[in-house]
Point group: C2
Chain length 207, copies 2
Amino acid sequence: MELPSRLIEAAVDQMASLPGVGRKTALRLVLHLLNRSDEQVDAFSESFQQMKQGIHACKTCHNLTETAVCSICADPARNDRLICVVEDIRDLLALESTGQYRGQYHVLGGVISPMDGIGPNDLNIDALVTRLENEKTGGDEAALEVIFALPATMEGETTAFYLFRKLASTGVEVTAIARGLAVGEDLQHADEATLVQSLKQRLPYTS
Amino acid sequence: MELPSRLIEAAVDQMASLPGVGRKTALRLVLHLLNRSDEQVDAFSESFQQMKQGIHACKTCHNLTETAVCSICADPARNDRLICVVEDIRDLLALESTGQYRGQYHVLGGVISPMDGIGPNDLNIDALVTRLENEKTGGDEAALEVIFALPATMEGETTAFYLFRKLASTGVEVTAIARGLAVGEDLQHADEATLVQSLKQRLPYTS
């Protein structure tokens, strides 16, 4: 579809560069923006520039933050002997929205995926090892636990296995979130691999 | 889901203000933008501002253009006695991409939709009447044909009926694009209203 102007073409190209946005959707969104006022389009555009300029990774856990250290790392009420390893910031937000986890995080920034050309060096893995070693030599004697909260995919499993070997030398306790039947799910609709995991990870029954 | 920064919150709000983009999708897109370079985010943002500043409606047909009159209205090779009325610019682009229509257009900018609070005065209807009257007094004696290429919805039909009565005084010939079985479609999957229309609008068979 040939567009009537190179300015619209450029805007559609930019919108369609977002993941999951095709050119037809991009055109719809761009024409929607054209109907807004100049001020609204400026506010739309500048919000991304301001975000890009103001946001960076927390130097401790790689969560996103406007300050040097993110609000979770800086919170003295949180347990700093408990570090939950997640793939990305959205997983961190999902765990935070439960309101039940009061430890800290480490955001890997992805998972190992040879198909997508993502190797261990593309992730914040060395930073985690360094962080754990610093924690150990920091004088605090309480045991350190690392919780793997990685996706239950081939890539997630690969990453967990790689990390587990990498962390062996640090001597920290390593756990992983449970795999099993989702709350509200029934057995006949669960996949077999999940049922196998739910049997393997069975626990003493408590009412 | 509480976001770790008001800058991200603002960007997600802006992205989610686009039609059909929910907050989860908006967050995914915004985090994708955060991974780009400053220059890429600037190019993304500025494309919409440049478009907004450089694009306006053609004063004749309300197509989008960077100049006073759009390239279709300005093209002397096109038949200016044939005006195709469409709901919006995407419908114009769809017809143009067939490469088979060589007349001109008139973009209404919507259809009459009381449910959405859109009345005739919100559309470029008076401009069409004025345009047709100018064409008639312009000295060209060739008959003027207006083709309704409006959506086959309640709103499209309402708009066509309103326009038809409005144009009666101008004495122009009014036609409408055919309704019927889509190319490649079989009868058993077509809806009944379409089949009724395809029977009503039957034509002498030509091989």
